[in-house]
C-alpha cells in the first residue's frame, strides 16, 4: 500500500521522538530535545505562513513573547491555571495577529514583513520596560504546570527532563498533524494557490486578503504556544523570547530545513537548536552563522536542506 506523505511525516516524527532517547549519552539531552520540539512548533507555524501562503513575518517572536508572559503573569494576577494561560496567550496572539494583519494583508508586497518587524520590537520593548508588570529585563518566574506531578500520582513518574521531552514532543507532533491536515485541505490548497499566482487565485474566487490573514493568525497561535511551552518548561522567562533575533531564528530554521515542508522545517529547527548546544564555540558566533546559513541556503538550496536532499535521492532512483 502506498503511504501518504502526511502519514509518512507523522510516522517519522513519532519514531524519532520515541526512539531518540535510546541514543542519549546523558539526561541533558532530554532538555535539548525539548528545546528542539518547542522551536519546531514555532517553525511549523512559519511553514503555514511562509511555505504555504508565501508571506514573511519578521516579528513572530512577539507572539512567542505574548504566549510566554501569559503563562508567567495570568496565574499570578488572575489566578488562572498555567495550562489555561497557554490558551489565553494563544487567544490574545490570535486576536492581535488579526488586528495587525487585517489592514496590512490587503496590500501587496513586503508590508507584512515591515509591520511584523515593528510589532515584534514593540512587544519586546513593552516586556522590557513595563517593570511593574514584567520585572523587566531580569525576567520573571513562571508557575509549575503541574502536569508532571499529576502523571506521578497516576503512577507514571518521569524526571523533569523526560516529562518535558515527551510532552513537547507530543505537542510538536500534534502541531505537525494540524499543519499537514491544512496542507491537503481546501483552505491549504487555496493558500498554496495564492502563493503560486494571486491573480489566478482571485479568478477562482479566492479572497486573497482574507486567506492570508487566516494563515497569519494560525501561525501566530503556533508561535504563542511555542513561547508558552518554553516558559513553562524553563519556569522562567526573559524579554529575549520576544526579541528580534528569536524572530530571525524562526525564519532561518524554516528556510534552512525547507519552508515548504513540515518535516524539513522541523529538521531545520533541530539543526539550529542542536548546534549551539553541542558546539559551545558556535554560541559566540550564532548571529554570524545564522546570517551565513540564510545566504548559502538562498544561493545553493532554495527549497531548503531536506527537500533538496530528497530530490537528489529521488533523482538517482529514476
Amino acid at each position: 500500500m502506498k503511504i501518504s506523505a502526511k502519514s509518512a511525516t507523522l510516522l517519522v516524527l513519532v519514531v524519532l521522538v520515541a526512539l531518540s532517547p535510546l541514543l542519549f549519552p546523558s539526561n541533558f539531552y532530554y532538555r535539548v530535545g525539548a528545546l528542539i520540539f518547542v522551536n519546531a512548533i514555532a517553525v511549523t507555524g512559519i511553514v503555514i505562513l511562509t511555505g504555504y501562503a508565501g508571506q514573511v513575518s519578521l516579528g513572530h517572536a512577539g507572539f512567542a513573547g505574548i504566549g510566554a508572559y501569559a503563562c508567567a503573569l495570568a496565574p499570578v494576577h488572575w489566578g488562572i491555571h498555567p495550562g489555561l494561560a497557554l490558551f489565553l496567550g494563544a487567544g490574545i496572539s490570535g486576536v492581535l495577529a488579526y488586528l495587525v494583519g487585517r489592514p496590512i494583508l490587503r496590500l501587496h508586497g513586503y508590508y507584512l514583513g515591515v509591520a511584523t518587524l515593528g510589532f515584534g520590537i514593540l512587544v519586546a520593548m513593552i516586556l522590557t520596560n513595563e517593570r511593574g508588570l514584567t520585572r523587566g529585563p531580569d525576567g520573571i518566574d513562571v508557575p509549575d504546570l503541574g502536569l508532571r506531578a499529576l502523571l506521578g500520582e497516576l503512577g507514571l513518574s518521569l524526571s523533569n527532563g523526560q516529562f518535558w521531552y515527551f510532552f513537547t514532543g507530543l505537542c510538536m507532533i500534534l502541531g505537525a498533524w494540524i499543519a499537514l491536515n491544512l496542507h491537503d485541505s481546501p483552505t491549504g490548497r487555496a493558500l498554496r494557490a495564492l502563493h503560486g499566482s494571486e491573480v489566478a487565485a482571485r479568478t477562482v474566487g479566492i479572497d486573497v486578503a482574507q486567506l492570508k490573514l487566516r494563515a497569519f493568525v494560525i501561525s501566530a497561535v503556533y508561535a504563542s504556544i511555542s513561547g508558552s511551552l518554553l516558559a513553562l518548561q524553563n519556569r522562567f522567562v526573559t524579554p529575549d523570547v520576544a526579541g528580534f533575533m528569536h524572530s530571525i531564528e524562526m525564519v532561518t530554521m524554516a528556510v534552512l530545513g525547507g519552508v515548504g515542508s513540515v518535516l524539513g522545517a522541523i529538521f531545520g529547527a533541530a539543526i539550529l537548536t542542536l548546534l549551539p548546544q553541542v558546539l559551545t564555540v558556535f554560541a559566540e558566533y550564532e548571529h554570524m552563522v545564522l546570517g551565513l546559513v540564510m545566504i548559502l541556503v538562498m544561493i545553493f538550496l532554495r527549497e531548503g536542506l531536506l527537500p533538496s536532499i530528497l530530490k537528489k535521492l529521488r533523482g538517482k532512483d529514476e
Binding site: 494540524i178 490548497r189 487565485a201 477562482v204
Partner: protein, 260 residues
Amino acid sequence: MSALLSIEGLGIGFGGIRAVNDVSFSVRPGEILSVIGPNGAGKTTLFNMISGVYRPDTGRVVLDGEDVTAIEPHLLARRGLSRTFQNLQIFQSMTVLDNAVAGYHLRESGSVLADLFSLPASRRRAREAREGARALLARVGLDRAAEREAGNLSYGALKRLEIARALALNPKVLLLDEPAAGCNAVETEEIDQLIAEVARSGVAILLVEHDMKMVMRISNHIVVLDHGEKIAEGDPATVSQNPAVIAAYLGSEEAAHADG
C-alpha cells in the same frame, strides 16, 4: 434570450491616452463572441476591466442583470464570471489535479477549523471537489497527467488546464484571453472543439484571439476594436467584408513595415 453579460460604454485612460473608449456589446447564453483587433487595440485592457482587474473610468458591466462594474475578481467569480489569461496563470508548483481542484474553491471551502483538524466535513468537501476535477481533466484530455506537477506540462496542455480550472467554477460567463496563442494546429483544433462544446452547454463565451481562422470558424458574433474604439461588429462574414476592418488590419501591417 436576453443578454447574460452586457458591456455599456466602457472606457479607460492611462495618463491621457484613451486605451478603451465607449465600447458596448452584449453576450447571450450559449453564444461565442470574439473581440478582435490589431495589437494594442485595447482587447486585453477591455478584458481586464470586465474581469475587475482595472476600474473603468466610464460605463458599466452588467452580469445577469446585476451591475458588477469594478467589483473585485473573487466576487465576480462568485457571481459566475470566470476567465483565463493571455500569459498563463497556472499554479506551477501544484499538481495538475490540484490546479483543477482550486477551481472548486467556492464550492469546497468551508470552516477553517474543520480543515485544521481534518474533520469528515472537510474531507468530504475535498473529495467531491477532487472527483469533479478529475472529470473535468478527462474532458480536456489531461486525466492521465493528473498527478504531475503543472510546471512540467507543455504549453498547449497548460492552456487546456487553465480552461478546465475556469470551467470548474461552473461559470455563466467565460472570458478566454487568447486560448490558442502559442499552440500548434492540433492543439488549436482541440481547444476549438472544447470551446464550442462549452458554449453548447449554455455558457456565454467572450473570446480574444489572434488566430483569425479560429475566430471566423467558431464565433457567432465579432466585435472589432481599433485604437480602443469599436469600429465594427456583426457575424464573421459581415465583419470580414467590412472596409473599416480591412483598413485597420492593413494599416497596422503597413505601420509594421514602416517600423521595420
